[in-house]
Symmetry: C2
Subunit: 370 residues, 2 copies
DNA sequence: CAGCGTTAGGCAAACGATTGCATGAAACGA
DNA sequence: TCGTTTCATGCAATCGTTTGCCTAACGCTG
């Protein structure tokens, strides 16, 4: 005997308008559910969300509620919930671009950790445009993200939400930075080359917009001088252009060869440019590692599958992503842990086929290019 | 004892509790703005959103509103707006995993097109787990996405929002599918190999979960028989395992070699597996392209930078992503264009260094592996 | 039996925008 | 001067939840 009339018309979905076409089968809300149960929305909400106040609600009622929710396929409206609780369960990720390589690897770590916590994320790419970075930061905040992760992205201002950068440098106060131990990384590579017997080492520095460039270079300088080696200016080239491709590395290497100063090994800024470099060497009739040794950086997927397989300094990108996500989550979580300043992770040298001792007294010079 | 009227304490931010720390400088809302202007929220909203009713509001007032909004740094609350307008300006993207390669390339196209339209997107990866796919689809809908893009992801059910798949097959009614012309793609590759003089061609098929596998294979069968070539069973291997790496291609090639049936060329399922294959050949003492020709598929970034540079069938992945995004946008846009069934894009053969005519009467056989 | 603590749940006010309808004044035509 | 538009703006409902506070009934104690 269905007595409680009240909002009865609502309780029967599909009544009212005769199968109205423009009304998509709007999903049931708390209201419908409550009406159907003869309870108030408040009670239903409390049960469903397991609010503390639900303690005083008898098990039998709770079961009724759960059963009805399942049966009517109730799905809470996250938008409404977000509005009310001022929690979007979303964090924002900024990166230079969505492409193979660095950022993507980190992103996969971020995603893994975030999923576990039922957080979603927005991705925006800024292609190294400072103005775009600023704008993205705002748009994300407008979207009510609860935290920000910036991958290889220089932030001008601190936001009002917890922020962590991956490979950021001189970040504003209060943002956590996840970074590689660049000194150790450089030492690893230089040591390897040095032990093989290389003395004339060429370098490819990163683009100026890349946050790692300076720290890495500093590490290299330290490592070189610690081993009594000199960095000769003609043997350093810088990546130019913001294409996330192998081209800049290729071009930089051609410049190195054109400079005519002999060298027996090259330490590239990353794997992608190392691969471009190898191609440039091949085109110049030089083979790797017989004529020149090459060491890359990052250890991207394909590094191991190059021909020759690339010797490289591995950066635990996936893990750095996970750490970043974990940090944000901690800072926005109930504990609201304060931001730590910095988390540094360790590189690892992966020796493969692109390095070997130099041919005695036979350093590569750029002659072929003149 | 200040037992202040509770509501009053809220109305003056910064009063009540002395410099309350837990009250972040809550951003100004329509309400504050309206109060400051001596107007009603309704009017302010109308002006700011350029609602049709704003036509009757005099320019001078509008200017006042805009000025105040700028000055007070008003930023609309997107969550509230979404709730009211039932528009989240967000679409959901499903893909197997965030990693280098296929899905990422497509994603970059999606992102580009969506940004232009001020849409954001959620990314979820399901690692080919059917159950996860289902769950993700729900979670995205719960998050009120207005559309769905599924990349290399088999959908069981049609959702209540416009959906487009990239490289989907047998999708439910009403979803738009963006796909490559696989018959043409196969023809391109086979033709190339055939014209070079190859007759014994080996194949690496895709994993069974990959949506492209069947269509591609069908295209290959057609192309082969059209040229009077036979597909010999011992010369086809299938990628196994769901690692998004080069390993499966490497392993498949070893199986091919182990089978001992001679062949002069290999057509791989994608570039990533082709690269794995090349390594397997090298390890077996065979060189590419002298001993075996290899053609890949997709034309990922690094294909051109392999050694040897990879001959491959280019799939316009970035553009497919853009098309996918454009389609969703059209279907959810004001015009609400109906879903088209299918959009097919054309492949392109990129000839590089990994293919050349076979050495006369000297097909590779797997002997070395026995 | 007055008093009080539980128990079981409802009321209604947020959250911050959008929007249909209403209104009061000015402008306009007859 | 009296309708009738048009203008300029305000009122209040709504979107779907969450949550602080309230109440009514019941059981117990002293």
């Amino acid at each position: 005997m269905p007595k409680s009339a009240k909002t009865a018309s609502r309780s029967l979905p599909g009544r009212g308008l005769p199968n109205s076409v423009d009304t998509p089968p709007r999903s049931v809300g708390l209201k419908t559910l409550a009406a159907h149960l003869g309870l108030s929305v408040a009670t239903v909400s409390r049960v469903l969300t397991g609010a503390p106040a639900a303690k005083s609600i008898p098990k039998v009622t709770q079961d009724r509620v759960f059963a009805a929710a399942a049966e009517m396929k109730y799905r809470p409206n996250v938008v409404a919930r977000s509005l009310r609780k001022r929690q979007s369960m979303t964090i924002g990720v900024m990166l230079p671009e969505v492409s193979e390589g660095y950022a993507t690897l980190v992103l996969s770590g971020v995603e893994e950790r975030l999923m576990e916590a039922d957080y979603f994320y927005f991705v925006v790419s800024h292609h190294h445009r400072a103005e775009t970075i600023e704008r993205c930061q705002h748009m994300l905040l407008d979207r009510a993200v609860e935290g920000l992760i910036a991958i290889d992205t220089p932030l001008k201002h601190r936001s009002s939400v917890p922020t962590v950068t991956v490979s950021g440098h001189h970040e504003p106060e209060g943002v956590t930075n996840i970074m590689l131990d660049h000194n150790r990384a450089a030492a690893l590579a230089i040591d390897h080359l040095h032990q093989l017997g290389h003395r004339e080492i060429a370098f490819i520095k990163g683009q100026e917009f890349s946050s790692d460039t300076d720290a890495r270079w500093e590490g290299i300088r330290l490592a070189m001088s610690a081993r009594g080696l000199r960095i000769v200016p003609q043997l350093v080239a810088r990546l130019e252009g913001d294409a996330p491709s192998h081209d800049p590395g290729y071009a930089a290497t051609r410049r190195l060869l054109a400079a005519g100063k002999p060298f027996t090994a090259l330490f590239a800024f990353n794997d992608v440019s190392a691969i471009g470099a190898i191609r440039a060497f091949r085109e110049a009739g030089l083979s790797v590692p017989e004529d020149v040794s090459v060491v890359g950086f990052d250890d991207v997927q394909s590094a191991a599958y190059q021909n020759p397989a690339l010797t490289t300094v591995r950066q635990p990108l996936h893990r750095m992503g996970m750490l970043a996500a974990a940090q944000v989550l901690e800072q926005i979580g109930p504990a609201r842990l304060p931001a730590v300043q910095q988390i540094v992770v360790s590189p690892e040298l992966v020796v493969r086929e692109s390095t070997r001792p130099p041919r005695a007294g036979n350093a590569v010079s750029g002659k072929p290019f003149r």
